[in-house]
């Protein structure tokens, strides 16, 4: 029962064990976040209802007025919905971190001899698992409203990998934002305009050709459009390599910029 004596935990020796410990710490945090997710089912319900409403609205309300040559609109729509799901899901990464910051839980973690990247890695990994769940659900919803895969299972599988990788990268963007604001409400408020522009000024729901010419350059050259393009080609046929590579390149570029930024913000975040 004594608390005196040398601490039980020992120092990491060498780079290899540091990486191993960062991985273990990240897994421990992922586990914690998944438990939290399971015990607050309303988070999952809200994450599901919103895209469900989008599917119903675009499929049955706006869909009749949107013409996309060469596509049944539901087949054009669903890849956009999938991208929307992972992009909106990424916002929750920042919201979760901001909430942990507000409650002081992150302070406790910052005083522990754990890897500095584990809090972020654990959060983004858990959110990847959540995205996987919600996307799977939305694929089911898609099939129920008439969506069909015109290619094959392998290509559709690749589409989902591309999609989830993009969602994972996007999570790091909002991790950075979530750590830069004082609470969950601010995280939500700060993230929403960004996500709205990224998702709607893209090819997710409509053709970019019909947008004003000044908007087209952005709409055509941004990560959501690339990802939607890849998922669309991989599920509906047509040339898919260029879009897939573009999406993966965006994913890599976002990770390259925002992982260091978010970790830097985590190290620096100072709550008085």
């Amino acid at each position: 029962m004594t608390t005196l004596g040398p601490p039980d935990s020992s120092a990491p020796r060498g780079a290899a064990s540091r990486v191993a410990w960062a991985f273990r710490d990240g897994m421990a945090m992922t586990g914690r976040n998944l438990i939290t997710l399971r015990r607050t089912p309303q988070l999952l319900v809200f994450a599901t209802i919103q895209p469900l409403l989008f599917v119903l609205m675009f499929r049955y309300v706006f869909g009749g007025s949107i013409q996309v040559p060469g596509f049944d609109y539901v087949n054009y729509l669903m890849p956009g919905i999938f991208a929307q799901v992972v992009a909106f899901g990424a916002v929750q990464t920042g919201v979760g971190l901001a909430e942990d910051q507000r409650t002081g839980f992150i302070q406790r973690l910052r005083s522990l001899p754990m890897s500095r990247s584990a809090v972020l890695a654990g959060r983004t990994t858990a959110d990847l698992a959540r995205n996987l769940f919600v996307v799977a659900l939305m694929v089911g919803v898609g099939f129920a409203v008439g969506f069909s895969v015109q290619t094959n299972a392998a290509k559709f599988g690749l589409a989902l990998v591309v999609l989830l990788a993009f969602g994972f990268a996007f999570s790091w963007v909002f991790a950075f934002i979530g750590l830069s604001v004082p609470n969950a409400e601010s995280a939500q408020a700060a993230s929403f305009p960004i996500i709205l522009v990224m998702v709607f000024v893209s090819s997710a729901f409509v053709l970019t050709e019909n947008m004003p010419s000044w908007l087209q350059p952005f709409a055509e050259h941004q990560p959501v459009t690339a990802t939607v393009g890849a998922v669309r080609a991989l599920s509906q046929g047509g040339p898919w390599v260029a879009d897939t590579l573009a999406s993966l390149a965006w994913t890599a570029a976002i990770l390259a910029v925002f992982v260091p930024l978010a970790v830097w913000r985590y190290r620096r975040s100072q709550t008085g």
Binding site: M1, T2, T3, L4, G5, P7, D8, S9, S10, A11, W21, R24, D25, A28, M29, G31, R32, I35, T36, R39, T40, T103, G104, F105, Q107, R108, L109, R110, S111, L112, P113, M114, A118, Q270, T271, G272
Partner: protein, 318 residues
């Protein structure tokens, strides 16, 4: 290393925007002792603890834990400290047991050791029955105990307690005090911040009083109290005019400087009961009758009045 105190802070400065939260703070905690860092809200107590716990980095000055610089080798510092605080930073959606196991894993205990340690701490903190309930269902006192248990998972030799009893009911507070005493008996060094003189009085070997980011006094309880008188007498007179008259009477009776506003009067004295008798006699002789009279231990306000405004009435007992 053997010369180093458990905690050494020198000329520590930390600024948030335009606020100088720490404005050149020095103090030292010897191994195996309890230092009470006493001060009002915003004095810089929490900032000092956060610097020592490597949560924030200081702008200037030096802070060492067991001889290790908090900026130079934060990981080594983190292995030897535990932090528990007023916000009870546990995860509300995890159970008590899960919280402790998580901290065990994150402090790199072997898995089996983390499980055993969690059970041991739940038992010790009287949380075994609630171990598998989500922490958000806990009472305030239980949350604090879980928070403190989480700080002890890796058996840190130095523990920081940031206002551990703020907002607790008296019985939970007493329980927590007992726990801190047990820790100290086991040889742990404790740095405790508090707004309550009584708490520092109960637990600390030495007290450092800080205000506006500066150390304004330091010493044992006895040393600090001797600077302000051990007790405070509060009298309430019928009206302001009576209070003015009574003030003159009391000062003339040698009961020292009298403070207070309106119809209230305050004076401090080393022996409260005796001073109260003297005051009553002096007032009675002039036909003055207080509406109420009370004797109490000096509050933090009294300490501050005495320590931060030297020379003013009420500051230094004759």
């Amino acid at each position: 290393m053997s010369e180093a105190g458990a905690v050494e802070v020198r000329a520590l400065v930390k600024t948030f925007g335009t606020v100088r939260a720490l404005d050149g703070v020095d103090f030292r905690v010897e191994r195996g002792t309890v230092l009470g860092l006493l001060g009002p809200n915003g004095a810089g107590k929490t900032t000092a603890v956060h610097v020592l716990a490597t949560i924030i980095t200081p702008d200037a000055g030096e802070a060492r834990v067991l001889g290790v610089d908090v900026v130079g080798d934060p990981d080594a510092v983190r292995r030897s400290i535990g932090l528990a605080g007023q916000y009870a930073a546990v995860d509300g959606t995890l159970t008590g047991r899960e919280n402790l196991r998580l901290v065990g894993r994150l402090t790199h205990l072997p898995r089996r050791a983390a499980v055993a340690r969690a059970d041991e701490l739940l038992e010790r903190f009287g949380l075994t029955d609630a171990a598998d309930r989500m922490a958000r269902t806990y009472s305030g006192g239980m949350r604090r105990r879980l928070d403190l248990a989480a700080a002890l998972v890796h058996r840190p030799p130095v523990v920081f307690l940031d206002e551990p009893t703020t907002g607790l009911d008296p019985s939970s507070r007493n329980d927590l005090w007992d726990t801190v005493r047990d820790l100290v008996r086991d040889g742990t060094t404790v740095l405790l911040t508090t707004q309550y003189l009584e708490e520092a009085d109960q637990l600390a070997d030495r007290i450092v009083v800080i205000d506006h980011g500066r150390v304004v006094a330091e010493g044992t309880q006895a040393e600090l109290k001797s600077r302000i008188g051990t007790t405070v007498i509060e009298l309430r007179m019928a009206d302001v005019a009576c209070a003015g008259g009574a003030r003159e009477v009391l000062e003339a009776a040698g009961l020292g400087p009298v403070t207070g506003e309106g119809d209230a009067l305050r004076l401090s004295a080393p022996d409260g009961g005796r001073a109260l008798l003297q005051a009553m006699r002096a007032l009675d002789a002039r036909g003055l009758e207080p509406a109420s009279a009370a004797v109490h231990e000096p509050s933090l306000d009294d300490v501050f009045l005495a320590l931060t405004t030297p020379g003013e009435p009420g500051a230094v007992p004759a």
